[in-house]
Symmetry: D5
Subunit: 147 residues, 10 copies
């Protein structure tokens, strides 16, 4: 069983058992987004995480091995993105990244925000009668090495 | 004077006068990232903002008109992005957006996080002897209209 | 059953039962274009809409769940579009959007016409012995937030 | 003088003289969007239109010849579009055109809505304390010829 | 049965029955190219045409419905074209279209040759001991509407 | 002087002297489309043609050398084409070429219609109160050599 | 049976029977490269060639019809090419073609080397203790027709 | 002076002095194609070659340094190629390379024909009253190293 | 059995038998990376290597023939690469290759580092409490041949 | 003065003064490749490095500021790469990265080799009468953070 098939089984089981991402997050000791990435196959689970997933979702044993395998990360979508939710994220990077980069270099010097040693967090807020979502990428600053 | 030239003049003046993004942000009443977007030409300034920019940076009067004009937003970079700072942001959208979308729909229903009615915020933190950066996109949730 | 398969079944049933888009629109309380988007899988149905579709088209029960699910929106066509009907819509955006944008900004300031909080309407008219079609996109104006 | 340069001069003059698209539309006997297309160089002006434009905007005589020339139509933007205003129009064609096509064929048979024998109209409305924009494309229906 | 499958069956039957395009053209009352477009699925047949095709080729009844359906036109080839026959047609449009356009505008004003209200005709000629082919596109001239 | 600059000068002179493509065609002994291809730089002129062009259009002597040079043929347009006139030609090749190819192979065997040993002809006709244009590509049939 | 499947069967039979390209070439009266193109489906076989192939390789009768059919030529590889053997051929065209074109025009005037009325020949040589390969494309020179 | 400018000067001087590629080839001790590659900037000249070029063409001294520099090889053309001469070379690689590769591997084992340790030769022949061109790529066979 | 299927079987067997790349490398007498390339299908095995692989992994006999066949090398990933591990390698080539090329030409003259007559080696090191990886490409220098 | 112009000046001065990359490396305390990256504008120099560069190469004072600025990294070449030196590096990543990734994950777990916290080293060796080049990328291993 590969990671894609494990994801398919897990997503179906989540639907049938009426489980939320928060429930799955609780079971594996991750955040909801982190748990979703695990299920979708974008992370390698520890043995404990894999077992917890399989137990919670009632999956076959081989799914655990699939969840633990290191992924070959490929997008689940056409690119440039066509789904409006994803397209809005894309638009922000496309247009505003260079200005953000300029501010970051003023504060940190030359380097990058790690996309590996990082966390992603989604939050829901209520303000003035409307829903607001906030998505935070928090990564270690990696300075370019001199050589 | 178009917005691109106003940006060029403003960035040079910022360098020569040794101004920080925070100083510019203070002068126009925006956040550092918001001020950078204004200077780079990705926003339309109010009359007050435009005048404050021109004053602080010692720019010619026509620059104010350029800052106030509504921009035609085009990226300042090849695409897919080649700069490692931007490439890391791109990687996160490319790979992780669909899983984030799934969590968001569970919490909000069908819709998007607005890329127009939104704010972007960069922060610097110190943890365990290393620098960390966090970038937060906070946007109004827009549900799809039924018709 | 995923949304694509539900669409396939529904389109076949529509053909076999000789139903028009107006009949489907009447059953779900939407416009003909809105009903077509629902059937093609570009919208999330309410419980009532999903049940009405299933009843009218004689679909299996699982189709209702598929119709209610939030879609991952991807195009049903190669891109740039090759079908002459779609190619004409594409040509209009490709060539005339910047001039329309200019007029819109003069009237509304900086912002966009929402592609989420919006309606689409198709109409057929007769004039001087020929058929005319009109397609109207009506969307909420969203001004860029200052930050 | 080519059409692009005539457009540049005309847009600058419009700004300096504080003219609106409606004023220009009135002078040439077109709608605001039609007038903008003429100024941006996406249409061939009649002699009367060209003269009226030159008079109203105080342009050199050669500009009239440029406005009258048949254009080679190329987009004024990178593609796929990066400006959020244009990107929303693009998203609608990209995602929803096939469903609209289906409805249109049910009403009209096989054919297309003309992108040549057509009009485009933008309108501004006020509803429930918010601004709404509507954009209407009205084109002659052209059936495929049998041969 | 969709149009693609109907095409596949029809092309196989044409081969097995040893029918020429001219024979098919005669049966449906079209030209050979027009008949080929119908069989390949690039046109919507009338009831009479569909019945004639089914009869001549000995196809199942559902094929008639497929032939009558309005097509979603997509190319049957990679693009840019790799087959030398198609590549030569492509080369002519790629290189020579702008000069042809210039001549056409001098004769017709601003507008296009319709690709919908048109015919295509292929002919074979013998000259000086060699074969020559001529392909003629004859279309209605559509002037741009003034608005 | 390169071919592009010679074309620019020639097109300006054609406009100023009020010459038609037919007049130019007559002077060089080509068809109107052939003459336009020569002026636009898509053919190598004979000495007589080059001299006739320079005389008729009042161009500097070096233009004759430019017209005689063998061209490096590159398109004068973005690709896929954005101008509606060119886009209609492109659509025909994109969609209908494989069916035309099939008919051609039935009549000629395996081979191509030459895009080098060929002529292109545009004609204007009047029918039922409307203008019609016909464009004919006539090329030598080249069979694939056996080896 | 289509040409692709015929190729698959023929290549497997070639392997199992331990046949060389030279043996196949001998059987059909072509060169080794010409025989390979026939087997891979890039040429239309004569009746004699098709029968010889079927006999030599022990293929089913329908394979002969497939070999005789006129091919729709599409590449058997991603593009730009990723296989190092093909990539080296591609590099030569990509970089050196314009200089070769210049020499050819000096010798032949305006025209092309035919890619249809041509032969391709591969040869193996031994020189100074190393293997050398030479690939020759020999084609009829086709001058552009004047019109 | 960079290699591109040296090429421009050299090509102009070649034209003005009426020199052939063979004359240049003779002066530098290369073949005509080899000489053309040197002039176009696709090779690094030896001191003797550079001096000979400068002398023969009457170029400024700095041109010699430019000819001797190692090139950064980029194509002189859009890609995929649009010029018919280059397009025919491209078509051959695109379509026939995999079959040629198969024959080559049967004769040489796994490896490539070098595109670096190689020669290119163009020849003109007369046969049956027509011109024929042959282009030969002769390269060292490089087997993949085992590791 | 083709090389892709042989790879799939081999990778599964490697997992089930708990074999490391070093064990496989030992069995075939290659380095770990070399062994991985063999298994993944990017090299042609000798008879001894193929037999050793089949024995060690318990594969069917036909797998040996597949391992020995010369590969048609195509990437196992979308391109540009989306997996972060591969993307980092890509970034280095994309950005830093021209500067490396300049240093190499100063040391070696005009030529290339062979990607065929070469080895690749991965190593793991420990330094200051962190893991470091080093990847070395060592290739024969191939000077451009003069012709 | 931007980094691109500083690079241009520095490369010219390097040529005129006959300096090697090793000499520049010695002056700034970097490796030859590291020094080349600095000069080409792919790194931010320290004050000492910038001053040393300006002194050694005799550049104007502003060049120092340019060398110290954080770069916006964009490639200096078309992409996919056309220069054979770069194309060989590209080929290795394109084809062999996934197998290397597999070995790396077996040794290190899930993560990446840093392209920021890394060094690049080029070496020249002599073996069996031929030159060999080795390029080593040595980077810190970054494991994916769990969240």
């Amino acid at each position: 069983m590969n990671k894609r098939e494990a994801a398919r089984l897990a997503l179906r089981a989540k639907l049938e058992r009426g489980l939320t991402w928060e429930a799955i997050a609780g079971a594996v000791g991750r955040t909801p987004v982190g748990a979703a990435l695990l299920v979708y196959g974008y992370a390698a689970a520890t043995r404990e995480e894999a077992d917890a997933l399989v137990r919670l979702l009632g999956l076959p044993e081989e799914a655990a091995a699939a969840f633990r395998r290191v992924p070959f990360r490929v997008p689940r979508q056409p690119w440039p993105p066509t789904d409006p939710f994803v397209a809005r994220m894309y638009e922000i990077v496309l247009l505003y990244a260079p200005a953000i980069k300029d501010v970051a270099h003023e504060w940190f010097g030359d380097g990058i925000i790690s996309a590996v040693d990082m966390t992603l967090e989604l939050q829901k807020e209520r303000q003035d009668g409307a829903d607001w979502a906030s998505l935070t990428w928090r990564g270690k600053w990696l300075p370019f090495r001199r050589f």
